[in-house]
């Protein structure tokens, strides 16, 4: 019994450390990447290649005062940043990094991750509502409508993958794709010939779910000051920031497991955790690359993309896959 408890504690500590380290250094990677795309060097003063920037930013955020604006709903205001970070860390628990590296493998891993991912919208809603600031409310309403409309195509594509693999267990989905890239779910098969399109839909939805540019209407700096976290300073803001990056890691991990074969090597050599990490960091680099390429969409363009294009196509894909699974 105590051993299980110890296991849980170790797993949680590792999950928090992994999430926090990723959040800190993805900010650095994001700033360096953005700078390179804009032909600037980026943060390069603190430490070699500016690698000391994230810890110094952390110290700066932690030493600042946490201000609660007058008239704000104190409880919601304080709960929101925690609610942004906690589900992200909890989702790490069920993600299998490799055959033997998973804190706790669950039969219903896919369901659990989506359940936690939908809590992110609550954090944004609480933050926007609790701050008593019209910009925050506007932004949170936008972000929630966006999250709701992008969760649908994301779940439908996930259901397609679950149907093809016949399991909700992330580990089982990964192992089912072992043995070279033609076994991966992204590769069109007889049972679901539209898998590459599913992958693209899932990728777009994970961009939108994490409120990343070009879908960052929740924080739209140029229109809404800083969106839902306008009133947050200090580590309250820091937690939102870390939560965003932790969610990016979750999104990339989920995309890797569902479509890119998890820890499987494309050429059938040395399967292991490094392939998983390589895949998620390539996906994250693409996230960053996309953010610094495209301008922000309008709210109409965003909702039209979801309701008029992604949902019909993913529904069609679901029906087609269901029919073909029956035939073959």
């Amino acid at each position: 019994m105590s051993l299980t408890l110890l296991n849980v504690i170790v797993a949680v500590v590792i999950a928090i450390a992994f999430a926090a380290a990723n959040a800190a250094y993805l900010v650095w990677a994001e700033r360096r990447g953005a700078a390179r795309i804009q032909r600037r060097p980026g943060p390069n003063i603190n430490g070699p290649f500016g690698l000391l920037q994230p810890p110094l930013d952390g110290i700066k955020l932690m030493t600042k005062q946490l201000m609660i604006p007058g008239g704000a709903d104190k409880i919601l205001f304080m709960v929101a940043p925690v609610l942004a970070m906690a589900p992200a860390i909890m989702s790490f628990v069920t993600i299998p990094f490799s055959e033997g590296i998973a804190a706790h493998n669950m039969e219903i891993g896919v369901l659990m991750i989506f359940a936690f991912a939908s809590m992110g919208a609550m954090a944004i809603l609480f933050a926007g509502w609790g701050s008593r600031n019209k910009y925050s409310v506007m932004a949170s309403v936008r972000a929630v409508s966006q999250n709701v409309s992008y969760e649908i195509p994301m779940l439908i594509t996930a259901i397609t993958v679950v149907m093809v693999n016949g399991s909700m267990d992330l580990k089982a989905i990964s192992t089912a794709q072992a043995g070279g890239f033609w076994h991966w779910n992204i590769f069109p098969s007889l049972q679901s010939p539209l898998m590459p399109i599913s992958f693209i839909i899932f990728f777009i939805c994970s961009l939108a779910e994490t409120n990343r540019a070009p879908f960052d209407l929740g924080e739209a700096e140029s229109e809404l000051v800083a969106g839902f976290h306008t009133e947050y300073g200090s580590m309250g803001f820091g937690l939102f920031f870390m939560g965003e990056y932790a969610n990016i890691v979750i999104g990339a991990s989920l995309t890797t497991i569902l479509f890119l074969g998890g820890w499987d090597c494309p050429f059938g050599m040395f399967p292991g955790v490094w392939w998983f990490l390589l895949k998620i960091y390539i996906l994250i680099a693409t996230f960053i690359w996309i953010r610094w390429t495209f301008p922000r969409t309008t709210i109409y363009g965003l909702l039209n993309l979801s309701w008029k294009i992604l949902i019909p196509i993913s529904l069609f894909n679901l029906l087609l896959t269901a029919g073909l699974l029956k035939v073959f």
Partner: protein
């Protein structure tokens, strides 16, 4: 229906073209100047505050004719002179020498009338731009001292 799919196709294509552009830019060298560590040469037409030009001996070219002082619409320039005795061809002659050239840069509008009116090419715009200060006394320049300092640095 055809328009629906062609819109999706064209939209995706334009997005990929955009990503191609940023991908190429990513690998190009940076173009920014790292300011405190690097500076760029100011262009020939840059107007800083005026400064005195030295002759071959390192003395100011200025002959204290006072044209710049008179031309200045804002009255920024104050000249001062002393006479010294020098020996030319065995005779002792008196000569006027610049003893003071004060510029009140707080009033200067950089019109350049002083530079235009100087018949001896003795003043010129400097390329100085790091002039931030919180005290206005810092903008009362003693150009003679400045010239001396620059000459010492060059020597």
């Amino acid at each position: 229906m055809g328009g629906y799919f062609s819109e999706i196709f064209n939209g995706s294509k334009s997005l990929l073209i955009g990503m191609g552009i940023t991908f190429r830019e990513f690998f190009k060298p940076t173009v920014t100047v790292q300011y405190p560590y690097q500076t760029i040469k100011m262009s020939a037409r840059f107007r800083g505050h005026i400064e005195l030009i030295a002759d071959e001996e390192g003395k100011p070219k200025c002959v204290v004719c006072g044209m710049c002082e008179r031309a200045c619409p804002s009255g920024c320039i104050t000249l001062g002179s002393t006479s010294i005795e020098i020996e030319v061809d065995g005779k002792i002659k008196k000569k006027k020498v610049l003893s003071k050239y004060d510029l009140d840069f707080t009033k200067c509008s950089l019109c350049g009338q002083c530079v235009e009116n100087c018949s001896f090419g003795a003043i010129e715009f400097s390329k100085e731009y790091n002039l931030a200060s919180t005290r206005k006394e810092d903008y009362h320049f003693n150009l003679l001292e400045r010239l001396k300092r620059l000459e010492e640095r060059n020597a």
